[in-house]
Structure formats: C-alpha cells, structure tokens
C-alpha cells in the first residue's frame, strides 16, 4: 500500500489516512471524519460551496494550476443539459505517481470530493478516467464505489436529501495525451485521444457535449478537507494564491524517494535534503525537474526555491504535477534530453503539424548527437525547432516537449557540445533545393 516511509516534515491533510488499517474501507473513512465535508456541503447553497473552494486557493493539481473554484463557477447551472463530474486519473506525466497512492490508500476521499463538486454544480453522474495500467486501482475504486452505494452515499436520494449521483470508473488504454482534458473527454466517448478545439471549454461543453467539471484526482481529494475545515484553513497551509498542501513525488538520485505531502511553498532544497534524505552516495546535486518531465530543468543553483505555482514560474519553470526528479552530478543531460523527447515523440497524437513533425525531428537529431554523430549547428537547430513548436501547437503537448528541451540546451550547452565529434571531417552542406 505505501511504498515509502512517511516523512516527519509532512503536513498530512490528503494523506492523513495513509497507513491506517483498512484505509480503503468506508468504515475507516467514516471513523476518521469521512464524508463530513460532504454532509456540510449538503447544508450549503451550491454557490457557497464554490465560494469556499475559491477561498481555499486550491489550484488544479494536474499541472496547469488553474484555480479550481473558478473552474467550477464556469459551469452554467441553469443549463437544461445533464452535468458531469469527470476525474482525471490518467496520471502519465513522467515523474508523477501521486494520484495512484491517493486512490490506492483513500479511495473514499476522492468520491467525497466528487460528491461535493456534484452538489456544487448540480451533476448527477461522475466518471473517473483511470489510466489503463492502473488496473488494480480501478478495482479499488470500484469496491469503494460499491461500498458508497451500499451506505447511501451514492445512487438515488443520497442520505435522504433527494440528491442523485452515480459514479463509474472508466479505463484508459495507453495514451499520455489523454491527460489533456479535452483529449480525455474524447477518449471517454470512445474515440482517439485527440484534443478538442477550445472554446468551448469543458465547463460549458465537456463530456457528451454537456457542462462538465474536470479536475485531477488530487484536486478533488483536497475538497473534502476544504469543506470540513473551511477554505481559509486550507489556504493558510500554503502561500498566497497557492492554497493547501501538495503531494510531491520525489524520484531520481535521492536517498528516500517517495510521495510526500508538503505545504505549498516548501523549499525545494529542503525537500531534497530533509524529506528526500539528500543525494545518493553523497554526490552533488546537478539539476532538478520540478514538476514532471514537461517542466524546464532547474540547475542546482536555481533550487533554493519555494515550491508553489508562482515561485517556480518566476524561476522559469513550472510546478506542474509535482513530480520532482532529482539528478546528481553523474547525470548525462544529453541522455535525459533524448529520453524526454523520445517520450513526447511517442505520445504525440499526430493531430497538428508542429508537434507531430517537430518531436520526431528533434528526437532524431538528439539521438544522433547522443551517438556521437552530431553535426555543427545541431545544437542551435534543436533550440530553433523547439522554439518553432512553442506556442504554436494545438494542445500543450508541443510546449511540453519544446520547453524542457530548450532548457537542457540552454543550461547545459557544454554537455551537448562535448558530444559533437571533435575533428569535424566534412561540413554537411545544407540541402540547396527543396
């Protein structure tokens, strides 16, 4: 159930039940303030619920950091169409494994978050879109859903209030792109996981063309505590405009890798040293990817940094999905860049030109460079191709491929240059004719 020891530095709000006996069961859940937030929400007018979430400064935990309360408020309550709650449990950002433990250890917390959202926007159906590889998580969630039905927390006339809400799990089948919310909705509808033209945004036209609240697992999991203890209390855990705690998945060259719940704004170096136990083998820190592989890399000297959305953005990267990948001094940055691009090339859906063609082109140049077959000009070309993709692709996957690549080349240029063959035998002529 838990794959790493907790850290004493953690502030355990979403993970408070982790490690309890039978933490997955509804009995454990109910015995530890479970569904208290939902019961409170039942007493509140829907607008108040949304207000509370706004006050909490809860920002989307999937990666973009969009304020959750604001997102919910975009759902047109008066629309005659059915409304949906959709959970993005398509956790796929390399370096990220937090949603998995949230669902595995405390599935009812997610259900309660969904229930509160349903109450806030008037939805009667919810789907949890879980990546296909997480089959055992789907089974855990299905059991929790069954329990919730049995105890009257799901289904018709919930707790005698007249509220109806059904929840279903839905498996993915292998596509990183489906983590993008509109692609996820396409996939939910049984189609290729290709993003939709926006606007309209899911809040207005989401699942099955109906108004939809779509958030990450962790975002929903934060909601019960917000209702239970109040938005202010949650907000105060973090930094201004960055409410609450956040689950950080520490991975890479670190002594105690694991998923830890820490307050927003926790210092990155402390996180590595004190939570993660420092770099393995007493080696020196070289670089950190602060929020999953889509985020620009930070050099060691840039890591004295508060881990909240705004501070990391100010440092030129992104908090992303909280996947902190730590690299020590032995790390071959060129190999990292190659592997990251190989991933984006593999996952590019192919819909739009710059992402489809840019990722394969970059991959080929990077692989060639890594294998010692680089050409003069390759390094500049990598940067130029990346910039040609940046901001011009249909969905953020193109940016996710371009941004880190630019950072690797700019921050570790000397490593790329060192890969170029020393004596340049023949200068490759650019093709003159198209």
């Amino acid at each position: 159930m838990l794959y790493n020891e907790p850290s004493p530095l953690e502030v355990r709000i979403l993970t408070r039940r982790f490690g309890l006996p039978n933490s997955q069961s509804i009995d454990t859940y109910l015995a530890t303030d479970g569904y208290v937030g939902f019961r409170k929400a039942l007493e509140m007018p829907p607008e108040r619920i949304i207000e509370e979430v706004k006050i909490s400064n809860l920002r989307g935990r999937g990666g973009a950091g969009f304020p959750a309360g604001l997102k919910w408020s975009f759902v047109p309550r008066e629309s005659p169409k059915p409304k949906y709650i959709v959970v993005n449990a398509d956790e796929g950002e390399p370096g990220t494994c937090k949603d998995r433990v949230l669902m595995e250890n405390d599935p009812h917390q997610l259900l309660e978050g969904m229930l509160i959202a349903a109450r806030a926007v008037g939805a009667e159906t919810g789907y949890i879109y879980i990546r296909g590889e997480y089959r055992y998580i789907i089974e855990i969630m299905d059991r929790a859903i069954e329990e919730a039905y049995a105890r009257g927390y799901l289904g018709r006339n919930i707790l005698g209030t007249g509220m109806n809400f059904d929840v279903y799990t839905h498996t993915g089948a292998g596509s990183y792109e489906c983590g993008e919310e509109s692609a996820l909705l396409e996939s939910l509808e049984g189609k290729r996981g290709q993003p939709r033209i926006r606007p309209p945004f899911p809040a207005v036209s989401g699942a099955f063309g109906c108004p939809t609240v779509l958030n990450n697992v962790e975002t929903f999991c934060a909601v019960p505590a917000i209702l239970r203890d109040g938005g202010v209390a949650f907000a105060e855990l973090g930094t201004p405009r960055n409410g609450g705690t956040r689950l950080f998945a520490l991975s890479g060259h670190i002594n105690r890798p694991g998923v830890y719940e820490l307050p927003m704004g926790f210092n990155l170096l402390r996180m590595i040293e004190e939570v993660g136990g420092g770099i393995r083998g007493g080696r020196k820190l070289k670089a950190v990817i602060p929020g999953g592989s889509s985020c620009p890399v930070l050099k060691a000297e840039e890591c004295d940094l508060a881990m909240d959305f705004d501070s990391v953005a100010k440092a030129g990267s992104m908090l992303g999905s909280g996947g902190v990948i730590v690299m020590d001094e032995t790390t071959d940055i060129v190999k990292v860049a190659v592997r990251v691009m190989k991933f984006y090339q593999h996952e590019s859906c192919g819909w739009c030109v710059p992402c489809r063609e840019g990722t394969i082109w970059l991959r080929k140049i990077l692989e060639r460079l890594d294998q010692g077959r680089g050409r003069p000009g390759d390094i500049d070309l990598i940067e130029e191709i990346s910039k040609n993709m940046l901001g011009r692709t249909f969905c953020p996957l193109g940016d996710a491929a371009a941004m880190p690549t630019i950072s690797y080349v700019q921050k570790f240029r000397e490593e790329f240059e060192a890969r170029l063959p020393k004596p340049v035998a023949i200068e490759a002529e650019p093709l003159v004719v198209l």
């Binding site: 033209i197 090339q345 859906c349 739009c352 030109v353 840019g358 394969i360 040609n388 011009r392 198209l434």
Partner: protein
C-alpha cells in the same frame, strides 16, 4: 440576423457579421490567410497551423480558422512573427514529405508546393532519414501515398460529412498517423473520388489519371456530365484528343466541386475499344463498314421510299442527346416523316407534373432549393445512388442549416442517417405512406418534394393535391434518370405532346406500341437501346440506329450510324430540375458525328427543309417556340444554369403510367452507356444495388 462586427486586419477596417471566422473576414478584405486543413463547409480542425495570425493583446499566435471576430479586434496577418510561423509550419510539413515534386503526380497543382513558393524557406534544414511507408492502392480508382499526406483530414471530412459514407479514417498516431480505408486494406464506398480532388497534395491520387500527364499539358473543358439527370458540371482534362480526367475544382456549375464516380471517372467510354467509328450497313448476318455518304444516302433513299408509299415510321429518341437534337428529331419525324410515332424511354412522369402544376411555374424546385429549403420529402428514390448531387445538397443543407428531411422508400437509404422520419413502404404504396406524414409536414414552413418513378400518372396529381392540402409553400421535382431525360420530354419526344407540352392533334404510337406493331416499316432509334429487353414485332422493318456502340438494338439495325457522345458535341441539356445548361465540346472521335449533324445530313439527302442543323440556330428556335425555354443567353454563355419551368395550362392527355420505365441505375450503372465505362465496372462495389444503404 446577426449584427455586424468591426475589426482591423492588416490596418484595414473590416465589417462582417458576428460569428464570422477571422480567416473569412480577411477574405472579404482581399487578404489571404493560408490554410490546408480549413475547408469551407467542413468541420474545423486547427491542425495544420498555417493560419496562425497575430492578434493584439493575445499572448500567442491564434488560428484564424477557429477564431470568431470580435469588436475592435486588431489582427496582423503579415507581421514578421506570422511570416516566421508560416515558414516554420512549412518546414515541418516538408520534413517527412518527399521532395520529388518533379515526378509527383500533383506537381503543378499542389497546394503545398504553392504555399512553399509563397511562404516557405528556400532551403531545408532537415538532414535526417524521412519516415517512409509504401504506397497503397485503396481501390482501382483511389491510391494513397502516406508520406505525401500532410494530414489535413479534408478527405476524411468530405467522405463523412459531405457524403455520409465515412470510408476514410485516421489510424495510428504521432508521426505514423495516416489515412486508413474502411475495409481493412481497401475502400468500400461510393468511389466518388471526392477525396482525391480535395487532397491538397499528391497523397490521394486517381487510378485513372495518375502519371499520365502534367496538369498544364491538358486543356480544361467544362461541360455537363452525360450520366444521371442532376446536371453536374464536369471539367474534362483533354490531351492529345483524349479525356484524361474529370473534376470540377473551379466549382463552376450547380454542383460546386461535387462529382460522383460517373462524373469523375465515367468518361472513359469515349475511348472504349468497341466504340463505333464508321457507319455500318447490314450484310447478311453481319455488317459492312461504309462511308458516311453511302450510309446517309441509303437511309435517305429508304426513308423516302417508305414515306412516299405512306409507310409507317417509328422514331425513338434519346434521353442523353441534346435539346437541339431532340427538338430537331421530333421536327424531322413530324414534318418530314409525317408521323407522331415518336417517343423516348421515359423514366419519370414529367408530363403529369406539368399538368398538375399548370399555371404555377414557381412550384418547380431548383438545385439551389435543396441546399436552402427548411424541409424536404423524398418519395421512392434511393437518392444517394440515383441522384448523388441532390443527396449531397440535402446533406449539406442538413449540416449547415438543419434541414428536416422526411423519407418514404421501399428500403433503407443513406438519408435515413439524418432524416427526422423514415418510412418504409412498397413503391406502389409510397404516396399513401407519405400522406400519413401530413400532420408533421403541415408544421414545416416550406417543403420540397422529390418523387421517383413510383409516383406517375394520376398519382402525380394526387401528390400535388396533398401538397396543396398542407397549407405551406411546396415545390416539386419529378426524378428522371438521365442527363437529358427532362429535355427529351420538354422537346416533345412524346407521341401525344409537342415541344413545350402542347398537345398533338393526333397522338402517335408510344415506344412499346411501335415495337409491337407488325406493320411498322421503319424504325429510327437515336441513342436508345429499346431492344435490350424487348423484341421488334415488325421483322421486315428498316431499322436505323445512331449510337456509340453496337448495342442490342444496333445489332438489329440495317444501318448503324456512329454517333458522338455528349462530351463530343455542343448544345444544351436540361437537368432533373429543368435547369438548362450549355455543353462544351471536349474532343472529337474520328469517324463519328453528332446526332444533329447526322439528322442534317439525312434531311439534306431527302431534300427536306427543316432548318439548319446547327446547335445555335436550333436553340434559337427552341427559345422562341418552346414554352419556358426563353432563358437568358448570357447565363448559359457564362456557364450558368437557367431554369426552364413549363408554364402552360392543363394537358388534355390520357395518363399511361405503364409507359414510365425506370432505369434503376445505381451509382455504378448508367444504362447501356455504363457498360462501356471501365471505371464503373472495375470497382468492387459494381454493379451495386438500390435500397441497401
């Protein structure tokens, strides 16, 4: 009516209706924003990223193809940022695209080539190995070369949204993404070739055209399709006296860019090896090739003899010959041969509709009505197969304006996909079934009724009475089957009606009566094949046949005169909606003559004075003497269509519904002519079947 929105594009002030996309707003100001995936009338994609524009206050470039105009918006389409983005997109597109334009089938008319010329870089920085996959044959008519494909998805959309066929899809992902056919490794579809035409690059190519010429070596002749009655303009690419391809990329004509397999590929009968290229005269069981002079002299002599002894003639005209030819033929029959025994294979009861709509010229629907009407009712026709253009128009109407379609057919039809109601009824009961829709139809603001051959004779009058009872404006189309079926009726190829549906003083014999009449002394068949499934009772009759091929009827002839096809002559034809359009002669087949020229030769040889056999002269006579045909010449001269709505009174004729004999052509059949089109026969879907959806 949406309000107007004012914005600025490249410093120019533009005012367009709210909801207009920036790409179209720019067009109104004469500013071109390049795009591959944006295609007017089809769903938005935003995939090619060529139309990125700079909008002031927006943090990044936006796609003009998905961006609705906003009041006060300031757009730049020619800024350095935009130019750089376009150049980058073209560079990306060309990375895995073969750069073998000199040997690419699309070279010279490739949008990627044109865009690169205008907006691209002069050199390539891509030095890696290209992704390559072998070319595939989707069907004998459609080839797909994935490396050339730029994934604009136009083909997928035209097939799905435009045709409702959905034969093309998107398979694999990322750089391996390609277009896939619906039947595993091949296509099972309409074989219309719309996907080939709409493809901006050389990815989808025509099995009949590819690598046969460079586009600029052809002469392009826009004329009217010779197959069904919808009257599509088909632009024939002619080189060295042969038609190499047909399409309608310039969107001239009623059909815009639409063509079905017949219009796009069905021209190949012109070069069929069995094409008659010399007059033939019977000699025992066989034929002897003779000169035109000999053949015409023989016909004139025999016709003269029979006429002088008061012998009985029968004349059967064609529904694929021109109005001028039909008019001239009936005039020849009536004036020179002195007979009203003239008819043509009738595939719909136009005369009955003329009678029922007497005095209501506005009740004849036009092709444009199908795209505009709020509601339509199809009775007893498999529209997607028998009238592909009308089906395409109705579907576009549904997609763009929310047409409400009602369908009453004996079996499933493609229109069921989107109809508000589809009823199944045997043909004989289709009118009665349609009448059960009265309550629903009454609630529509207007209606266009399309009816097939099942509704004929008295039933046509009952249908119009039903239409009148709805209390809403109703227009009608009597669905006939061939390119000039309508013109044949209008021009009086009927035993009881003269041109313009004026009653004949003494009605003659109808087609089956002529065949059954043992006393017939001469039978003159022009462009028809009545003996395909009937026999001629008058065993001794002198039979003259004008045709392209040695049909069953021609085999019985004493003299066979090789005729030119519709693509080899000038003149006019009238489509199913009564719209008159002008033909353009694309080529000459040596040894053949147009039917009009043949009539003129025979008339001259017989010493008959019925006016010059020249299309312009005959058409002038038609315009002045045939009711409804006083159409504006400039419209025709500029390639337009002008509706000739019959405007007479009631017709004092006896209804004979048994004379209406439908062709029942599918998409892959086109009467006797269709047998000589290789394209129509080599596709696996051929011959097809009606009412199988």
């Amino acid at each position: 009516m949406a309000g107007l929105v004012k914005l600025t594009i490249d410093g120019r002030s533009v005012e367009v209706p709210a909801g207009t996309l920036v790409i179209n707003a720019a067009k109104t100001a004469g500013i071109e924003i390049p795009a591959f995936c944006y295609y007017e009338g089809l769903a938005l994609q935003a995939a090619c990223r060529m139309c990125l524009v700079e909008v002031e206050k927006a943090p990044k470039l936006l796609t003009a193809c998905t961006l609705p105009v906003q009041e006060g918006m300031v757009v730049h389409t020619d800024s350095p940022k935009v130019a750089e983005a376009r150049k980058a997109m073209l560079e990306f597109l060309l990375t895995n695209h073969p750069l073998d334009c000199p040997v690419c089938d699309k070279g010279g008319e490739c949008e990627l080539q044109d865009m690169t010329f205008r907006y691209g870089a002069g050199e390539s920085r891509f030095l890696e190995q290209k992704v390559h996959v072998p070319e595939k044959q989707f069907s004998p008519l459609v080839y797909f070369d994935a490396p050339r494909c730029i994934l604009c998805y136009r083909c997928v959309r035209i097939c799905d949204e435009g045709l409702g066929v959905k034969a093309l899809g998107v398979v694999n992902r990322g750089v391996s993404t390609e277009i896939g056919p619906n039947a595993g490794d091949h296509l099972e579809c309409d074989e219309c070739g719309m996907c080939i035409d709409i493809c901006p690059v050389g990815a989808l190519t025509s099995g009949r055209y590819r690598y046969r010429t460079r586009p600029w070596e052809m002469e392009h002749v826009g004329t009217i399709c010779t197959h069904c009655a919808d009257g599509c303009k088909t632009t024939l690419g002619v080189r060295n006296g042969a038609i190499i391809r047909a399409n309608n990329r310039n969107r001239s004509g009623l059909n815009g860019e639409f063509l079905c397999i017949k219009g796009r590929f069905g021209f190949d009968f012109t070069e069929h090896p069995e094409r008659l290229r010399s007059p033939l005269v019977r000699e025992g069981d066989g034929f002897r090739a003779v000169s035109w002079a000999q053949a015409v002299a023989l016909v004139a002599r025999r016709f003269g003899e029979i006429r002088s002894r008061g012998g009985r003639f029968g004349v059967i005209g064609s529904n694929r010959t021109t109005n001028e030819e039909n008019y001239y033929l009936q005039k020849f029959a009536r004036r020179v041969l002195g007979t009203n025994n003239i008819d043509h294979p009738r595939t719909g009861d136009v005369a009955a509709l003329v009678d029922a709509l007497a005095g209501r010229p506005g009740a004849w629907a036009t092709t444009a009505d199908f795209y505009q009407t709020k509601a339509a009712l199809v009775i007893a026709s498999d529209l997607a197969q028998q009238h592909p253009l009308l089906a395409f128009q109705l579907r576009a109407n549904w997609r763009h304006h929310g047409l409400r379609l009602y369908v009453v057919t004996p079996g499933p039809v493609r229109e069921d996909q989107y109809s508000v109601r589809s009823l199944r009824a045997p043909e004989a009961e289709s009118l009665a079934a349609a009448q059960t829709l009265a309550e629903e139809l009454r609630r529509e603001p207007e209606l266009v009724v399309l009816f097939g051959d099942a509704v004929k004779g008295e039933a046509v009058r009952r249908l119009v009475e039903f239409g009148d009872s709805l209390g809403i404006p109703v227009k009608y189309v009597c669905l006939v089957d061939y390119s000039n079926s309508r013109g044949a009726a209008d021009m009086g190829l009927l035993p009881d009606l003269l041109p313009g549906y004026r009653p004949a003083a003494e009605p003659g014999l109808a087609l089956p009566e002529m065949l059954a009449d043992p006393a017939l002394e001469a039978l003159w068949v022009v462009g028809a094949n009545p003996l395909k499934d009937a026999s001629l009772a008058a065993e001794a009759a002198f039979v003259v046949v004008q045709d392209l091929f040695l049909t069953e009827t021609a085999r019985r002839a004493d003299v066979v005169l090789p005729a030119a096809s519709l693509y080899e002559k000038s003149g006019t034809v009238t489509n199913v909606c009564g719209e008159v359009q002008r033909l353009a002669k694309a080529l000459s087949i040596p040894g053949t003559k147009s039917d009009l020229e043949i009539f003129g030769m025979i008339a001259r040889a017989m010493g008959a004075e019925i006016g010059p056999a020249r299309p312009e002269k005959v058409f002038e006579e038609i315009r002045t003497s045939v009711a409804g045909y006083n159409v504006p010449l400039p419209v025709l001269a500029t390639g337009g269509a002008a509706q000739a709505a019959p405007s007479g009174g009631r017709l004092p004729v006896k209804w004979r519904p048994e004379l209406i004999r439908p062709a029942r052509n599918t998409l892959f059949r086109s009467g006797s002519l269709g047998r000589y089109s290789k394209s129509l026969n080599i596709v696996i879907e051929s011959p097809g079947e009606l009412y199988r959806a």
